[in-house]
Amino acid sequence: MSIFVDETTKVIYQGLTGSQGSYYGRLNREYGTQVVAGTHPKKAGTDVDGVPIYANVAEAVQETGATASCIFIPAAGVRGAVMEAAEGGVTFIVAVTEGVPAHDEAHFYNQLKRDYPDVQLLGPNCPGIISPGKCNIGITAGHIAKAGGPVGIVSRSGTLTYQALYELKQKNIGVTTCVGIGGDPVPGTSFIDCLEAFETDPETKAIMMIGEIGGSAEEEAAEYIKDHVTKPVSSYIAGVTAPPGKKMGHAGAIVSGGKGTAQAKMEALEAAGVQVGNNPTEAGELMAEIVASF
């Protein structure tokens, strides 16, 4: 099995008519994802490579029965696009867009929790989600992942996720689902959301968690693992030697006031029984050992 999305998931692309949306929409479709609709307020009735365009998410849901949406809308429009998707009736929203203001994120995060508690938002500023062999929503190169499990991956970084998928594939290890939660200060989906889903997914036997400096999401995940996760976890945290007070590429990757350091996160994870690698390769090797022991 997989978490959040599988071969039955029908997806709407908000921004399918744009350059990024049409490019990744096509790649996702070629991978096998059910790309059933796009939206554009002024282009309803047209199509992109045969995928019909509707005026908004609500109409697209009504016509296609889609349950998920993927947002390739410029940052200024993301807040509106997220709420449009939730109001339109989808229950899983992937916001790929980078550069969304933190106040917008905090606003729609809380608005969703209050008015649409069943909606799971992934991102913004994330590579998306892939259940290898079944469904790929976002910008991950599908062919670098081996299908089938037993490993589930959750990560704050795009390229480090790809690296992990690729290394596991080279070791002939499959992945149930790989979730990129993104590098922004208010991610819609947390490590804990994914850990919880992986823990209940029978095909996921082990979990790989890739974190980075900034915030306390890894520490909270460590607490959760200690109390609720029975499956083995390997981890890697990027930014051990990052200087304090500097944003390292991602808006959320910053050590401020001595908080959010990689050391503190690694210690918390180790204390929760997680096997922590010093670099991505080492974390991959630790996971290979875990899988070999099954």
């Binding site: 905090a106 970084s157 890739i210 590429g249 991505p280």
Partner: protein
């Protein structure tokens, strides 16, 4: 984007918060002129993007024009924790009865806005938090609801501010929240927020960090972008739109993706080297971006070797390899380059690089080996 104190005060004033009249001065003469116009006594305050100005001698009281001249002469050009003072804020001096602290920032864990208020202001809030945490009254504000006045009043009561400061504090805090949200700030901090002997509550210092991602709806924020503290390398990288952070070492780093770039910096340290920078060129890694990145790294006199660490996802290995070779033709690189290319079509990409390898262009199969080689070359 960090604002200077005076920019922060002007930002607060736009939202109707009471601040003292003042003027910015870049020279001693300008400082003197400002003081003459404002009327002494004034404060002469260094404008730098760092704390601890007072201890470093960057904040002085001037009773008369002679004092202003003396202090401005001493403060302009002063080095405060590596920040050289280029401008001073001349502000009408205030009488202080009491000093408080007030701030709003995002609590990433609670995913709500966090307001902090304390009647122990004028000192570092971290110190108060450590020594006397009960002295800080906290409020968590749901971004959807915003801060309402009743909650704000309860909050001020919880902080036990004296009665005469109550109304003024509530007024300022409501406006501070408005500035924080409407202004898309990561942080707004007033320390100290003062009560004057006449019973007025007043902003005496301002620390503001704005969200760079919000510029699309705040066109005037471009002015703050221009006054960010960046070294020469960071300025050049910023102009090219590259995600760059200058570091102190000798191994130049180019990687695609923030996580991989962070990881590359870590691995260089792990094998005993010192990275010269963090540089994320994004997912594509085409020739244009690569050439821009190499130019920035090449202009860093500390760089003795360059480590290009690329993972091909949707971008194929041969595109990456061709991009690197093309970029190398455009920029005359002075340091040896070590490449690690992995991911989609990595073999094809490596085959393209193979015939071009030399003492100044090396290739390694793994990130760890590439880091070791680059560190060795930088010695």
């Amino acid at each position: 984007m960090d604002l200077f104190e005076y920019q922060g005060k002007q930002f607060f004033a736009e939202y109707g918060m009471p601040t003292s009249p003042g003027q910015i001065a870049f020279t001693v003469e300008e400082a003197v002129q400002a003081a003459e116009e404002l009327g002494t006594p004034v404060m002469v305050k260094a404008q730098v993007h760092t704390g601890g100005r007072g201890k470093a001698g960057g904040v002085k009281f001037a009773a008369n024009i002679e004092d202003v001249r003396e202090h401005a002469t001493n403060i302009l050009g002063l080095d405060i924790k590596g920040h050289v003072v280029g401008r001073v804020w001349i502000e009408k001096a205030s009488d202080i009865a009491e000093e408080y602290y007030a701030s709003f920032t995002l609590d990433r864990s609670a995913k709500k806005h966090l307001g902090m208020l304390s009647k122990e202001g004028g000192v570092e809030i971290e110190t108060v938090a450590e020594e006397n945490p009960e002295a800080i009254a906290k409020i968590w504000v749901d971004p959807v609801d915003g801060l309402n006045e009743e909650e704000c009043k309860e909050w001020v009561k919880a902080a036990a501010l004296p009665d005469q400061a109550f109304d003024g504090a509530v007024d300022i805090l409501m406006k501070l929240y408005e500035a924080y949200t409407s202004g898309d700030a990561d942080l707004v901090e007033i320390n100290p927020l003062i009560l004057t002997p006449e019973g007025n509550v007043h902003v005496l210092d301002a620390k503001v960090t704005l969200d760079g991602n919000s510029i699309f709806r705040h066109e005037d924020y471009a002015q703050y972008d221009e006054t960010q503290t960046r070294d020469e390398r960071e300025t050049a990288a910023h102009a090219k739109g590259l995600q760059y952070v200058g570091l102190e070492g000798s191994v130049g780093v180019i990687a695609n993706g923030a996580g991989l770039a962070m990881s590359t910096v870590d691995v260089i340290n792990q094998v005993g080297g010192k990275p010269a920078n963090f540089l994320d060129i994004g997912g594509g890694a085409n020739a244009d971006v690569m050439a821009g990145a190499l130019e920035v790294i090449n202009n860093d006199p500390n760089v003795k070797a360059i480590f290009i660490n690329i993972f091909g996802g949707i971008t194929r290995g041969e595109e990456v390899a061709n991009g690197i070779l093309e970029a190398m033709q455009r920029v005359a690189i002075e340091s040896p380059i070590v490449i690690r290319l992995d991911g989609t079509n990595a073999d094809e990409g490596r085959a393209i690089l193979e015939p071009n390898l030399s003492d100044s262009l090396l290739m390694e199969a793994t990130m760890l080996d590439a880091a070791k080689t680059a560190v060795e070359l930088a010695r």
